[in-house]
Amino acid sequence: MKIHEYQGKQILSRFGVEVPRGEVAFSAKDAAAIAARLGGRCVVKAQIHAGGRGKGGGIKVAAGVEEAERLARGMIGMTLVTPQTGAQGKKVRRLLIEETLPIAREIYLGITLDRQRGTPVVMASAQGGVEIEEVAKRDPAAILMEPIDPLLGFRPFQARRLAFALGMKGDEIGRAAKLMTALVRAYEETDASLAEINPLIVTTDGRVLALDAKMNFDDNALFRHPEIRDMRDTDEEDPLEVEASAHALNYIKLDGTVGCMVNGAGLAMATMDIIKHVGGAPANFLDVGGGASAEQVAAAFSILQADPSVKAVLLNIFGGILRVDVLARGVVEASRKVGVKFPIVARLEGTNVEEGRKILTGAGLNITLADGMLDAAKKVVALAAGVR
């Protein structure tokens, strides 16, 4: 799960990471009031779940209260396009109004899971303010790494080693080490999957603060962090994906015309791939899970139907322990209930497959059967192309 910058800063500051003074604004009036509390001069930052905001005009400095209000009025409701949002951009609904600070240096500091090592790793770079992926490409040696031992934790010497390598001097060393330790605690205690401060700044008077904050969380651990679950902002997600998650369906919207309904994540990805392979374009990823109950299939049909770009649907089911005849009855029931309008190509495998096929073809629905995934993909892509 992703959260906004201002929410990330709230969490970090709770763990002792110093952040600039600031508050969230939902309107230009809010923004003016906050700017006044900050003494007038401030930064107005659009809050969306995507990076590169500065490049799209989503981060601006105001000289005083009036300018802050004017900038906020322009930003709220605007569609912000950044290198990470795609061409369609994201609508701005919230702003962070923050004090400005005299920056001496910008640093990168982040923690994420190193899957190969099987531990989280603290990453730092003296080249802050630019995307870490770019640094990794251009100058991999410039990224410092300290793995966090799962049993011993992040050790003080590791924090000092990073601080020295980043060129910290005098009091900055202790302050930076303290901040790193606080960041590790925040990462571990919230079950984060990413905690990134880019940039971390050293001010001209030697303070060390998080100027930005990006935190992602392990969905599997949200059950033990209700306070983080409450930070979810569904406005930032695709409405169909939000609807699907309410039905425990794994759905991701894509931009093709061939809808997919598959049981199992790997098979669902492979189904998208084979559609592309025969010249079509998948409209979505959709894993209905191992059970694929009639209710879930009905919810899945509704979601596919709500996507106007879907012209035909490929139903690809490997019924292992799940009986295909039971599934087929569920499909018939669900497609009647939803009033499915698109043609369906069904590729079924597994227990009682012959009976399942008979049920589907005998139901008077617009369903074509296929043998194997390749045949199914060819048939559904032809149908999607033929429907105008």
């Binding site: 899957r115 190969q116 049981n263 098979l267 292992g320």
Partner: protein
Amino acid sequence: MSILVDKNSRVVVQGLTGKEGSFHARQCREYGTAIVAGVTPGRGGQEHEGTPVYNTVREAVRAQRANVSLIFVPPAGAADAILEAHDAGIKVIVCITEGIPAADMIKVKASLGDGRGDAAGAGATRLIGPNCPGIISPGKCKIGIMPGYIHKPGPVGVISRSGTLTYEAVAQLSRRNIGQSTCIGIGGDPIIGTSFVDALRLFKDDPDTRAIVMIGEIGGTAEEEAARYAARELGKPMVAFIAGQTAPPGKRMGHAGAIIAGGHGTAAEKMAALREAGVQVLKTPDEIGGAVETILAGGR
């Protein structure tokens, strides 16, 4: 032969009395697996569908000489269940549970070690999964949730991060009368007990495994590591399929571990690494059966 599990496997099911545990333990027994005990804390001394239930794994090991554990415990308690099995001296632990927090698995993995034991080969605990369909040595035993009837005993080892896609591959092989030595679902999570390389090492040493099918997917670098191992040491033919060639970056594709992060973990990178290592990389899963048939017919 086969790897890790066979006719001598004596299975304790942790979470036997739950809905999933009951159903799949029954399916495993019908396949011929020796399900010798169940563990549900607080229900020790009872019988569940003819299987004795114990409060702790240690008791189940002592009373029934269980040597493999099959775990259906819900996510919040699953990591603890793995550690309990390890503590009780179980050497092969199969964890089916989906949705275990990554932080829990990091600790579990650190306390289990690398699964290869000490220099003398003693003390190794092998965890399979979590978030996987389990392991089957066809004709000998099935320890997991895969449909047993699609499998056949034979010379092909199958390793996969995905459930239904594995069934797809196995069904194609069996339909061509090509059997399998052992099929392992290693799991779709970012932190798993047995990697592709771990499984390949075991298949390399199994004289009856003549070819290997590997099914990977986007996210992480496990396939690239497998490619390096295949090039250097494997010495057996392998075909591979990588799911997620059309997956968008930054999105989690169903499995917690299936995500392209920071531009890495793409199917294209994995396919290129495998090809370079001399592994036959297939464009669609439909080609798996045919490709293996050609390899075996070539007498390799």
